[in-house]
Amino acid sequence: MIELICPAGNFPALKEAVNNGADAVYIGFKDDTNARHFAGLNFNEKNLPKAIDYAHQRGTKVFVAINTYPQPEGWSRWQKAVDMAADLGADALIMADIGILDYAMNKHPQISRHLSVQGSATSYESLRYYQQNFGIKRAVLPRVLSVSQVAHLATQSPVELEVFGFGSLCIMAEGRCHLSSYVTGESPNTCGACSPAKSVRWEKTSNGLESRLNNVLIDRYDDNENAGYPTLCKGRFSVGKNTFHVLEEPTSLNTIAILPELDKIGIKAIKIEGRQRSPAYTQQVTHVWRQALDTYYKDPEHYMPQGQWMNALNKVSEGSQTTLGAYSRPWQ
């Protein structure tokens, strides 16, 4: 059975995930040791024990993401994060940096190690490296592979595979994108932040509503357009005389339609993106995905995604539209 892995940016979201049927929740600490280092988000040593208790009492696992890349001055903070998660009883650590994977393996060998999507393993040879050297049990695949590529990978993979099922869509290979630090000085790898909120500025001008990131114009909206968060890869820029979404239009990933394929391939877990989103988001998405999985396993041959699920998911999607992303590759 495919496990459902849901995001929790705070205690209320964690409760929603647990109560709506997540098999595991994933969380991070309140610092740059994880890839959702946003103000007001995440857990500390005070509330994490309560959160873990709450989940464990209800049979839900807790995974802790320590999935950014420590630089020399931060090394001891990352070590401490690993120790804290281990001491408090996390069920798995999600990591990317090989130094930290090595530390966790030697210091806390009993705790499962998952390779984060930030580790950017896109082939079975790469997965073998992490398995053979750091004994990873599972890897989260970057959102760049097609379904047939994932299927091929799964036949050769030495570890369990977890894929993203729903949420905001990274179009770059995760862990290998410096667009954000090029413009703002902070990136997912270094600071756990992409297009950080403190660099964002909104301004109503005679040209329309403008969004800026560290002063760089990311997009300009007419009155009748929906404005989106100014993530760099989703901006409207110019190439030659054309102004368009040069890298990607704001959409969300939704793989609920290909659930049977993912199961047949042998995918072990589906991850829902969005630790930065509200408890209501976690509630809604967990609820729908639980229903979808249960419906599928009850009668796999006749599984059909239901209209009400799609409506509910579209309501909480970025850009209010969803795609299969790289899994189906309409741009291929």
């Binding site: 020399p72 940096d97 896109t122 053979q132 760049v144 820029f237 890298l247 590759r329 291929q332």
Partner: protein, 305 residues
């Protein structure tokens, strides 16, 4: 410090590539990286042709070190197949640009070097790979002088600083991101599978500007490069002082020899003279080196401490 010519990041024709490297045979660079690192559909030269080019350069310039650079984003079985041939070439050192290459090289006990798209942000990571055969690393472009100093100090503490050479991407459009999608094809409203090899039309990539005409990025197929050229010409003395071994210059279609000569000339000067030998090119940037946004240009004089 040595001077290296990084792998060609753009897509050029067979003749353009041959001509370019012919002129590089005489150029005052110590190391030349050869091979396709961006897109497996770029086949102006196939693996055998890159290998024979490597031998040709080595034959006419025996003092130069030739390294074979490998693909940065591995998705398909066919790409793994080519990667294995690079790794098993038997004659030249290999630059791994994806962990799949690190796996192939380390399990076969073949010495290797890693390019800037391998995530090495601390000395502990380098120490692990050093045991597996790592001889040299090129720092990820987004890291600063301060981080580099810390990593080198840690390597020293671990007793392996002298076993690993440090290379810094110092000149050219910086590789910032990789994707499954092709942005050059997208800009032409073409699907990736029928891209018409549009990258051939842009020997230095395709410029992306903001709606206010500010240079942002450079599209290079599935790779996104910086809009401005990184240029650490004014920082060479700093790099020498903290123990950098190799300065990497990234190929461009025009005036590459001029760039190489400028860097070489400066490196050949006594270090006290180097500090006074500076230039400012408006469209270049150096922010990452100073721990700032990469696209910023900072006056090195304000950072001499």
């Amino acid at each position: 410090m040595k001077l290296s010519l990084g792998p060609l990041l753009y897509f050029w024709s067979f003749d353009e590539i041959k001509q370019f490297y012919q002129s590089m045979t005489e150029a005052p660079v110590d190391i030349i990286y050869l091979g396709e690192t961006v897109c497996s559909k770029r086949r102006s030269l196939n693996f055998e042709q890159w290998l024979s080019l490597a031998h040709e350069i080595k034959d006419s310039a025996p003092d130069k070190e030739i390294v074979l650079s490998t693909l940065s984003l591995i998705e398909a079985e066919s790409e793994l197949k080519t990667l294995r041939r690079y790794c098993d070439n038997g004659d030249f050192l290999v630059e791994a640009n994806d962990m799949a290459a690190v796996q192939l090289l380390s399990t076969h006990s073949i010495p290797f070097t890693i390019g800037p798209t391998i995530n090495t942000y601390n000395a502990q990571a380098l120490a692990i790979m050093q045991k597996q055969g790592l001889q040299r690393w090129t720092m990820p472009v987004e890291l600063s002088k301060q981080t580099l100093s810390g990593i080198l100090a840690d390597l020293n503490r671990l007793g392996i600083k002298d076993n690993i050479e440090t290379e810094i991407f110092s000149y050219g459009h910086m590789p910032l991101a990789l994707s499954a999608r092709c942005f050059t094809a997208r800009a032409h409203n073409l699907p990736k599978d029928q891209c018409d090899l549009k990258c051939l039309d842009y020997p230095d990539g395709l410029q992306v500007k903001s709606q206010e005409d500010e240079s942002l990025f450079t599209l290079n197929g599935i790779q996104t490069l910086s809009g401005l050229r990184y240029d650490l010409y004014n920082e060479l003395a700093q790099m020498q002082a903290i123990g950098v071994d190799i300065i990497r210059l990234s190929p461009r279609s025009k005036n590459m020899l001029d760039i190489i000569h400028a860097y070489r000339q400066k490196l050949d000067q006594p270090i006290e003279q180097q500090a006074n030998n500076t230039y400012t090119i408006e469209d270049n940037c150096n922010g990452y080196w100073y721990g700032e946004p990469g696209m910023i240009q900072t006056n090195s004089a304000t950072h001499t401490a």
